[in-house]
Symmetry: C2
Subunit: 514 residues, 2 copies
Amino acid sequence: MESKKERVLIFDTTLRDGEQSPGASMNTDEKLRVAQQLERLGVDIIEAGFPVASEGDFLSVQQIARKIRGPQIAGLARANQNDIDRAWEAIKEAAHPRIHTFISTSDIHLKYQLKKTRDQVLKEAFTSVAHACSYTPNVEFSPMDATRTDWDYLCDIVEATIAAGATTVNIPDTVGYAMPDEFGNLIAYLFEKVKNIHQAIVSVHCHNDLGLAVANSLAAIQRGARQVECTINGIGERAGNTAMEEVVMALETRKNFFGFSTGIKTEYIYQSSRLLTHITGIQVQPNKAIVGANAFAHESGIHQDGLIKEKITYEIMTPQSVGIAGTHLVLGKHSGRHAISEHLKKMGYKLSADEVKRVFVRFKELADVKKEIFDEDLEAIIYDEVYRVDEKYKLIYLNVVSGNVAIPTATMQMEVNKEIVQDAGFGVGPVDATFAAIRKITKTNYHLMKYTVNAVTGGTDAQGETAVQLQFNDKSVVGRGADPDVIVASAKAYINALNRLECLKRDVKKVKVV
Amino acid sequence: MESKKERVLIFDTTLRDGEQSPGASMNTDEKLRVAQQLERLGVDIIEAGFPVASEGDFLSVQQIARKIRGPQIAGLARANQNDIDRAWEAIKEAAHPRIHTFISTSDIHLKYQLKKTRDQVLKEAFTSVAHACSYTPNVEFSPMDATRTDWDYLCDIVEATIAAGATTVNIPDTVGYAMPDEFGNLIAYLFEKVKNIHQAIVSVHCHNDLGLAVANSLAAIQRGARQVECTINGIGERAGNTAMEEVVMALETRKNFFGFSTGIKTEYIYQSSRLLTHITGIQVQPNKAIVGANAFAHESGIHQDGLIKEKITYEIMTPQSVGIAGTHLVLGKHSGRHAISEHLKKMGYKLSADEVKRVFVRFKELADVKKEIFDEDLEAIIYDEVYRVDEKYKLIYLNVVSGNVAIPTATMQMEVNKEIVQDAGFGVGPVDATFAAIRKITKTNYHLMKYTVNAVTGGTDAQGETAVQLQFNDKSVVGRGADPDVIVASAKAYINALNRLECLKRDVKKVKVV
């Protein structure tokens, strides 16, 4: 073991690398909500964004730096003065700011992308870290595509950036190419060859292209790494990043093997996973480890038989340990506002009196048509009602006729910039007709990339939760809606997407992210 | 390296362990279709089921043994004479039959579940393998919960079963507890201590509870294992099994590192993944490695810039190598039946003349309302039209009225056992109303566990593909339907689930699976 530190730091990049998942772009409010949840979860460092990328990114990072006081707040910057200045500007009000700067170091990237020599890159890395250190002693450096970088050159650059003042050196497997053994050996090599390596914390940032991000991260920890960069649900570029819940629960469940701990309060894992799914519309598959719907479902008769006799026969961790407590029956239609308000607090939501009131109105409406209201139903209402963007467009009235012989028709009334507009649309089905009516009324015509519906809970009176992904140039937005009527939920989701698109238009990124 | 064999055998258990995923139960036709695809994909061994479990399981295994002539066909059996006799009866007509027998060996399982001593279990394992060998020399033995078994006892049992004639010994990480290093060391320990180990192929069977199934399998290969048990999309008990596509593409992409090959034709991976999703209704998450919708989506500007300059900057494998060829525009509304028939062949479907005719009728209907028809649209039609179960219930007519002020009403006509029945249903929305009408007409009332809708392709005129999961005692079935009208698709899916439930009722498993 190269280091005696028992603690592995959790560096969450859901808001930076995670946000690069197609359709996952979030607005400032949503990012702040995720950041609050990450704080509750106990992550050590939140990478809040890439401030130079756009005005919106800058403002989001700044807001998070101002409001989230527990974890360190990192801002990403390429290895140049302007990026670093901008990053510092965004994070300087944080209780614990960190500048994270990076440059590619593999010959492949140097030759084809940067068109620079190794010496040039070494110099730029050194200068940039030094410049970042003029603002704060908390500086992280990443040699991008490290796993395809010449090992000795990588040692040189790590040594140089630590000498320049970097207190964390992060080794990214940018293209998800490394195998656990190989990656562990690379980390061990750094500890062997880099003289000043013990002056910094070694971190890793793995991608999951071959399904090995978690294994690579754990192999690195075994060889001395003490920080893991990861995301909730493993979202991120392509096949995503290391899934936080998996790496944390591996360390936790196999403490006897690793001997390390993290600061994560594992009982908030499931809630964090659901929050992210709600906000981004990126579903978790049923067989996803830890947070998938079937992760704790024992289907085989032999397994079930064993579990009845003794839990430990087939269960290495409990669903309760990650905050899955079975579905909660909340309250019936006669529950009062106070009871709902208390329950929302218990679920971990801090809402204003006005927000509770709005949730309560929707709860009453739902209780009229749905017998049993579960935590998931309340969550859907909260996301639909409270966490919304500024609304240019609103749904007032919708009526639909359809069937396998009728011509599907939607009659609709909407508020557009405070003005009431109505029209009818036809289509191949009621959803298509509804979307046609919305397009007519709003005079918009974005490409519909994806449309999904999930029942929030079981039962035929479940709320439908819909997601609509619209394309805007090379970007996309996901809108979401919830309603017991799936067509109404679809209309809400489409309108929500249009409203979010308006936000996006105001914040087109000038620079895009790593 | 403990073995000189360069080839790693792929043992697919999608039809056995995979089928244990909640809601994934398949009927014989569907299993046969998956088996055909596995043959096309080039797997070495297909575990077709657990013949003693039920009459249906037995018949499915028998059908697969008769019709799939390339790969070996394995039947599972507990370590007792009756199970083994039944397994042999099911697979004996296979070109290459294999009996796979297992018994738990960990003290936890011995104490709490089996209530047997180590000696008893050792004796039963030996006797059972010997009995299986009286039928065929191709016998596989699995010591269940091997990773929590005393290592020396495990060596004893492996040695005894090889002495009894087992030609494959499979080491299962039944509860998904092992870490790659540890698991690799266990395999190395077997090679070191078990005298006759080289008389058998060592296999591994990993579960993904901590996200490490693929890494554990690869670690085992590095230490001498030459067979990997895995499933398409990594489905299976709880968080599932080793994902075949990930372990295969890791071996393929990093051939320089491992030096092994498999018989998998990787260009069929994506098609296999989609087939399984269609049949089971178990979605793959967008950030799933290899087969997820975003697995090859490069979102960041810096990455995109690099890719334009040179592919290898950010791409370690091509989407084409796993059969993702971009969305194919098929044919327009003026395409004839011959063109469609040719195209279906190109897509890999072997359909009868009558089936092609039915697909063509549906294609024409769709082309009337949808401008562009993609491969995915044809696939949805094939699954909806051709691959159906016997139908007790059929949809004749559906008309729906709904909206955010109307009382959602569905008027419906169905064929029930060749008789026309009609009724109307009300609900909280059009889907709920439709389901209510179906329940009235069919006089059924199963619990609705899940309801999902996905657009098959982009665009507002996309077909909706719906899945309905209904509960039947402690089992469940998933029904699927496709139609441009999402309400009609929902009705089809509900009715399909009812029809599949009728099949399930006829085949209630007496014994349940490992």
